[in-house]
């Protein structure tokens, strides 16, 4: 199952989205900062082929979720202002939780406030997992924090760790508590960029500490799903067809496209197999 996440920066990019979805054979599309009417996106996605793509309505207006199957297979478990947690129950496939988010940005929120929101998000994910009785959870979103920041790494926050081996421990005792881990496969792509951009968002501010590239757009998976993660499938996209999403300076072209680059990845969920 192929996923695509893109913060489109409120730009009218329905046709570009359609091209990306076709090019990468996307099954689940997560859009952040979209002002495009969901109906217009569905119309664009279904323009050429069978009318497979559907939209899952949500109380969380900051993230839109589209998928190549009926919205009848998607059940909201928790809906917040900045995130939404839904269970996807497809025929012949194990159900999984899909948590999508657009967490507070660095321009308007301090680091501490960002971390607090991550705490809340993590707490709601844990509650949702208890409610549905499993931890087959995929977290996708513009988290507005880099993989190494406290809101992502902290045990009471998302507890996203950088390697499969560490994540495979499942949980870690800290101060008498045992919060579950996420594996954050996005981490290794931060600054990696020879064949792909070194991040998804570029910011050059006049201050002492500057990372230039940031990797705010991430996917985290619970250790249960590690066997189904296709490492090579993860990519930060810099092109749609032959058109570059970067400008002449080699950073995201916010005039023509968005200030964020999209990411794609694949989870090869087994059919009819209990995880």
């Amino acid at each position: 199952m192929n996923f695509l996440l893109w913060n489109i920066g409120r730009r009218p990019l329905a046709d570009t989205i359609r091209r990306l979805v076709v090019q990468h054979d996307v099954d689940i599309l997560v859009l952040v900062e979209s002002n495009i009417a969901p109906g217009a996106v569905v119309q664009a996605l279904n323009a050429d082929g069978p009318a497979d793509f559907d939209f899952s309505p949500s109380q969380c207006l900051k993230v839109q979720l589209y998928h190549r199957f009926s919205s009848n297979f998607v059940t909201p478990i928790f809906e917040g202002h900045r995130f939404s947690i839904r269970e996807v129950s497809l025929p012949l496939m194990e159900t999984f939780l899909l948590a999508v988010a657009h967490l507070p940005d660095k321009r308007n929120f301090r680091d501490g406030s960002q971390t607090q929101e991550a705490f809340r998000f993590a707490e709601e994910i844990r509650k949702a997992e208890t409610e549905v009785g499993h931890r087959r959870t995929v977290l996708v979103g513009d988290l507005n924090m880099n993989p190494f920041e406290e809101g992502i790494v902290g045990t009471e926050a998302l507890h996203g760790v950088m390697t499969r081996a560490i994540a495979a421990r499942g949980e870690r005792r800290v101060q008498g508590r045992l919060p579950p881990m996420f594996y954050n496969p996005t981490w290794k792509h931060f600054g990696a960029g020879e064949e792909e951009p070194p991040g998804t968002y570029y910011s050059e501010r006049y201050e002492g500490v500057c990372y230039f590239w940031n990797l705010f757009d991430q996917v985290l998976i619970r250790p249960t799903l590690i066997p189904f993660w296709r490492d090579r499938s993860f990519r930060i996209l810099s092109k749609v067809g032959d058109d570059s999403l970067l400008n002449r300076r080699g950073v995201p072209d916010r005039q023509r496209y968005s200030d964020h680059l999209p990411i794609v990845f694949e989870l090869d969920f087994p059919q009819g197999v209990a995880l």
């Binding site: 002002n35 495009i36 109906g39 217009a40 569905v42 119309q43 009318a51 559907d54 309505p57 919205s71």
Partner: protein, 162 residues
């Protein structure tokens, strides 16, 4: 087959090919609507047991009246009596408009598929067979009001937010 047990059922239990049940036809049309509107307006068929309300039922009237005298707060309109029939409601559903649903028509029939009574706005039409049912659906789908509703829903769903 269970060994040693006599099968008393006749050989013709399988659904005959000749006639499609109303619910089958409605579901097929729902799927077509989905495809024709690029999944913006979706047909949805919900089936429920048909009921009549005790207050309107002559045979239940006496019992209902007696209950009304002894039970405070008893409302005969709340008492549903199953009729043995089924009612299929055909909805227009728009996921991109917060799952807005509009009931376009209902098709009601007894234990047998036909005759089926189609209710659309204030009109009730009895169709005695599949052909009459299909003809009636075609009239309803082609009705100016139906078209206007579907076109409006599509326009609303595809208008960008400011």
């Amino acid at each position: 087959m269970i060994e040693g047990v006599v099968d008393l059922w006749p050989s013709e239990l399988a659904v005959p090919d000749a006639e499609n049940a109303p619910v089958t036809i409605l579901r097929q049309q729902a799927a077509i609507l989905r495809a024709r509107t690029a999944n913006i307006v979706q047909g949805e068929v919900a089936t429920a047991a048909e009921v009549r309300y005790a207050a309107r039922d002559k045979t239940a009237r006496g019992t209902v009246d007696r209950l009304s005298t002894v039970l405070s707060g008893f409302d005969p309109n709340d008492v549903e009596i199953p009729t043995g029939g089924v009612v299929h409601s055909f909805y227009l559903r728009v996921p991109t408009l917060s799952n807005y649903r509009y009931r376009l028509l209902t098709a009601t029939h007894s234990e047998e598929a036909y005759p089926v009574t189609v209710s659309y706005e204030d009109e009730r039409t009895e169709c005695t067979n599949e052909k009459e049912f299909m003809d009636r659906l075609k009239q309803i789908f082609g009705n100016k009001r139906t078209l206007r509703i579907i076109q409006t829903l599509q326009a609303q769903a595809t208008t960008d937010q400011k």
